[in-house]
């Protein structure tokens, strides 16, 4: 044993040592605390700190030929691709490719849309804050409301329907759930005509639940 520790010392010395030991630990603790706040704080994403900043969304132009193709096939969903400027982290804003499933509703479909999609109109937590149908068009987010895979229109099965390859959710042409684990029907996106150009706003809804909660805008 080290020499200095063989004699426990007077009670005063012992008290003093206990104080020094506590003081050493306290100093270490203060440094740790002062560092913890900025270091952990630096990891909190901006979207959590200021969710308002991410809100709002912007309109992305849809190429005219795609709207033309959609118009020509009333009642049948068509894949619509477009791009919008998106700033990913520290990268400067760049074109981000995205797609939606658009459909030009037949008059019959338009008449029954509200009845077939009660989730959009009668369930407060699942309602959307914009019209689902604009000038007869509906643009569905291409993300499956179950767990976020990309579903597609399958014209080889009868009747034709949307099928998600991951877990087999199925939806009809107006986005009503036919089968599978999806908790809600397909999500329509805001759509408008502006200065002669068709535009859509990309919104990502939280998957896996009957409510529609916005995760991010384009």
């Amino acid at each position: 044993m080290a020499q200095a520790y063989q004699d426990p010392g007077t009670p005063e010395e012992q008290t003093r040592r206990q104080f020094m030991a506590n003081a050493t630990i306290a100093v270490g603790g203060i440094i740790g605390l002062v560092l913890t706040v900025p270091l952990l704080g630096s990891l909190i994403p901006e979207s959590l700190l200021a969710p308002d900043k991410a809100a709002g969304g912007s309109w992305a132009d849809i190429p005219a030929d795609q709207i033309k193709a959609l118009n020509a096939k009333a009642g049948t969903p068509v894949k619509i691709t477009f791009s919008f400027k998106y700033a990913d982290g520290y990268f400067p804003p760049a074109d981000d490719e995205q797609f939606v499933w658009g459909i030009k509703l037949t008059p019959a479909q338009e008449a029954t849309f509200k009845a077939k999609r009660p989730d959009l109109y009668t369930v407060p937590s699942a309602e959307i804050k914009y019209p689902a149908i604009t000038a007869g068009f509906v643009m569905f987010s291409s993300i499956c409301p179950h767990l976020g895979c990309r579903y597609a229109w399958d014209s080889t099965v009868t009747p034709n329907r949307f099928i998600c390859p991951c877990h087999g959710s199925q939806f009809d042409a107006v986005g009503k759930k036919l089968a599978g684990p999806a908790p809600r029907g397909l999500d329509p996106l805001p759509f408008r005509e502006h200065d002669g150009t068709a535009q859509v706003t990309w919104i990502q809804y939280k998957s896996g639940q009957p409510d529609r909660l916005i995760v991010a805008y384009s």
Binding site: Q3, A4, A21, T24, V27, I31, G89, P92
Partner: protein, 489 residues
């Protein structure tokens, strides 16, 4: 206590720690012995802040500057964390040097502590390599050109120079692979080696015991102090003082990020302060007559630093003087004093030379383009415009680019843009309160101009607008601070 017993029975960790801490300090605890612990503290601070920086930093030419700029501008506490890392590096190197000087003066490197000394010198070298590799990572102008100089020095080593240089850069010149390699060295290899050496250093330290005061007496006969808690509290207090200084510097004097590295531009590179002495040697060599310059360069870049490192490593074996008393060791103490004076002298010489060159460059033909435009462009005083150029490069150039040309359809150009050179009030309004969705010259731009009112002073805004209106080919009148103050929302 039961928890500690449970852990002790299964791991022996408690007795291991207790054994490590119950240690005699010959002659008693002293603030003279805190430098090693304070260096260790600085190293831990560097590792911790460095880990957090890697959550954002991305090593490549496309992302190194962008991600660093993101840390500075967008990450919450990002500038504080990167400033801690910057000043922590300076503190670590300063403390390593103080630790070394104390060990040399106290003669504590002598037998049986030779291996403690050798591992210490290796850690000094690794610390300097960490400084050098970290210098490149932000990928701004100085990072690029200072590293270019350092790497070219490597290539001047005879025979193996070229291969060594290419091995470091990952190719014929500095590029994205160089950032990757320096990142790997800076973040993985060097810290891992450093931590292993620290463990060895401490194990040797514990084996040999504290070296005690520089006296030629049997250390065992001195009154013995306790390492825990007496010396540890002093170490903690010293580390805390270092921490407070680093935090204050990080808050009040944060480092700045220059514009992104552009190898085609002229730029006067300057080294970190701890390389100023070596840099001074290089400058001296460059001033020798042409016939001997090659040899002088070789001496300055390879032979002298190499000899110095070799001498340092071998010191405990070369110095056969058995005494530790300072007054009985004139050679080592004298050499140390001379080395210190020479190093400080060379550093001052370099610092003054660099400052003079930078001042000259602002008027001469070798001015960096941003600054040159500021001086020759407008009608207002050059001092204001240099300030404007600085505000521009720190706040505007990341989007509008250093050349003021922007990015097509994302960030509008500022050069040759009639909205910029037109009436001043709308320009001031745009800088103060931002702008979005406006077509400029019939073209729409997707990015939003942020409002700068809260981030810049009216003087900054006046300076940067004057700078922009007098640069990139623009020739519009300057604006004053009073003009800026007058523009309502």
């Amino acid at each position: 206590m039961n928890v500690l017993q449970w852990i002790e029975q299964r791991s022996g960790l408690v007795s291991l720690t207790t054994d490590f801490l119950t240690e005699d300090v010959p002659g008693g605890a002293s603030y003279w012995y805190v430098f090693g612990s304070a260096t260790l503290f600085a190293m831990i601070l560097q590792i911790v802040t460095g880990i957090f920086l890697t959550f954002y930093y991305a090593p490549s030419t496309a992302s190194a500057w962008e991600s660093t700029n993101y840390i500075y501008k967008d990450v919450t506490f990002g500038q504080f964390v990167i400033s801690l890392h910057y000043w922590g590096a300076t503190a670590m190197i300063a403390l390593v040097i103080m630790h070394l000087l104390q060990v040399v003066l106290w003669g504590s490197y002598k037998a049986p502590r030779e291996l403690q000394w050798v591992t210490g010198i290796l850690m000094l070298i690794i610390t300097l390599v960490l400084g050098l590799t970290g210098y490149l990572l932000p990928w701004d102008m100085n990072a690029y050109f200072a590293s270019q100089v350092a790497i070219n020095i490597t290539s001047s080593v005879p025979i193996i120079g070229n291969a060594t240089q290419q091995f470091l850069t990952g190719g014929p010149g500095i590029g994205t692979l160089t950032i990757n390699r320096f990142f790997g060295l800076h973040v993985w290899l060097m810290p891992a080696a450093l931590v292993l050496l620290v463990v060895a250093h401490l194990v040797f330290f514990r084996h040999n015991g504290s070296a005690g005061p520089p006296v030629d007496k049997d250390l065992k006969k001195l009154p013995q102090g306790r390492f825990w808690p007496d010396q540890m509290l002093m170490d903690a207090v010293a580390s805390f003082a270092v921490f407070v200084v680093i935090v204050l510097l990080a808050i009040f004097s944060p480092p700045t990020l220059d514009v992104k590295a552009d190898p085609t531009q002229q730029f006067i590179a300057y080294p970190a302060w701890y390389f100023l002495a070596l840099y001074g040697l290089l400058r001296l060599a460059g001033q020798t007559p042409a016939a001997v310059t090659t040899i002088a360069n070789l001496l300055a870049t390879v032979v002298i630093p190499g000899a110095l490192v070799t001498f340092l490593i071998l010191l405990p074996f070369l110095d056969r003087n058995p005494s530790r008393q300072i007054s009985r060791r004139p050679w080592v103490v004298g050499l140390t004093a001379i080395s210190l004076v020479v190093a400080i002298g060379l550093s001052l010489f370099s610092q003054l030379a660099i400052q003079k060159e930078q001042a000259d460059a602002h008027q001469g033909p070798f001015a960096p383009p941003v600054v040159a435009a500021a001086v020759t462009g407008g009608g207002s005083a050059p001092a204001v415009n240099q300030h404007g150029a600085q505000v521009f490069s720190q706040n505007c150039a990341s989007c509008h680019q250093a050349n003021g040309l922007g990015t097509p359809s994302v960030f509008p150009p500022l050069g040759g843009n009639p909205d910029v050179t037109g009436p001043a009030t709308p320009v001031i309004h745009t800088v103060l309160y931002g702008l979005a969705g406006k077509k400029i010259g019939g073209v729409s731009y997707t990015a939003q101009m942020p409002a700068w009112k809260t981030n810049l002073t009216n003087a900054d805004i006046a300076a940067v607008i004057s700078y922009v209106r007098a640069s990139f080919g623009n020739k519009a009148a300057a604006v004053t601070e009073a003009d800026v103050a007058k523009v309502p929302k």
